[in-house]
Amino acid sequence: MDAKELIARRVAREIRPGMLVNLGIGLPSMVANYVPANSGVFFQAENGVIGLGARPPEGMEDPHLTDAGGGFVTAVPGAASIDSAMSFGLIRGGHLDVTVLGGLQVDEAGRLANWKVPGRMVPGMGGAMDLVTGAARVIVAMQHSAKGVAKIVPECSLPLTSTRRIDLIITELAVIEPTAAGLVLREIAPGVTLDEIHSQTTARLTIADDLREMPLG
């Protein structure tokens, strides 16, 4: 199993029947592949659909139905079209149960930076700031480090997306929960050692008393 699939599978376990879920583009969007179709989960795309379905077969795309990345999607039975005011009303108003987003950095206070690398990448924050501020639960799904550089750090050096403490970090190595007392290491991926995690993490980690192996599947 590659790193991205492992992360997506573990994130999927956080999603319970009936939830309203927003998946960011890239890795987070893979999570949908591991949520059972009969779970009653509704995926929202912030550009305006609740009940996002799989990519349509070739030749059956509708140019009026895309996800937030502009890719063609379908709608599941019971889907609803909404405009951007309603879409972000749901997000900011706490009606979104979970958002899964990628990350550039998360720090010991549980703060996420994921929208800007000054001087290098200035794409705009899109919906990220509203999602992180408003969702009932924020899960950051990302590779543990970037080409040897830690992404889980004492304090974000990149511009923050929100000062809100996110709820969970899921990487190919570990599951880490930001708490008021700092970052708590809750799970280790199969075959990974504590040393490997520490070597790729500059933030201080507290080891949970009930540290366990990451459940997948």
Binding site: N47, A85, T133
Partner: protein, 216 residues
């Protein structure tokens, strides 16, 4: 009843230097023919308020490539490298706004509010220069309304009264922008006789729409 205009005649209403709200999300729901007609006019110095600038060759991306835009208020330009390059070079002055804040600012402009208080952006770069207001012990940023000289709306069906409806994710910014433009020009995919769109199916009341563009 509104006699529909050609895209060219509608584009001719837009003077150089105007501010334009343009609907669409990565081009989905954007008024493509109006955009083409504005590009064809070769006017410059436009202020564009939109969620994004799509990509080169699509939707608002065409206005960026044509050098028609000097100011941009948007939430995301990451998929249009030309916009990023022009922002970095200073050719386009760009204000990046969180998407939920952008749509609320447009709505506030359209519905006569003096602003809204949002938690989004607190403690980030977005709060620079803004007033913080505390309500019931929580801090919020005061975000001010946006209006524009024109709103260019991409719709699905219109009737000749100007009532509009939209399809699926092509709603996006269009319904709120139709409230916030001093002059509202709608480009529908079809125009149907009055009475075909039932009252409960109308998303933008025709009284908001000044001009309809004929089918392409």
């Amino acid at each position: 009843m509104k006699a529909p205009l050609t895209a060219e005649a509608a584009a001719a209403l837009v003077p150089e230097g105007s501010s334009l709200m343009i609907g669409g999300f990565m081009g989905v729901g954007s008024p493509e023919r109006l955009i083409d007609a504005i590009v064809a006019r070769g006017i410059q110095n436009l202020t564009v308020i939109a969620n994004d600038t799509a990509m080169p060759g699509k939707g608002i991306g065409k206005l960026i490539s044509a050098g028609a835009v000097s100011h941009l208020i948007a939430s995301h330009i990451g998929l249009n490298p030309e916009t990023q390059a022009k922002m970095i070079s200073g050719e386009i002055v760009c204000e990046l706004v969180p998407q939920g804040t952008l749509i609320e600012r447009i709505r506030a402009g359209g519905v006569g509010l003096g602003g809204i208080l949002t938690p989004t952006g607190l403690g980030t770069e977005v709060e620079e220069g803004k007033r913080k207001i505390t309500v019931e012990g929580r801090d919020y940023l005061l975000e001010t309304p946006l209006k524009a000289d024109f709103a260019l709306i991409g719709a699905w069906q219109a009737d000749y009264v100007g009532n509009l409806c939209y399809l699926l994710t092509a709603h996006n910014f269009n319904p709120m922008m139709a409230l916030a433009g001093a002059t509202v020009i709608a480009e529908p995919e079809a125009i149907v006789p009055v009475g075909v769109i039932p009252p409960d199916g109308v998303k933008t009341p025709g009284v908001l729409v000044d001009h309809l563009v004929i089918r392409g």
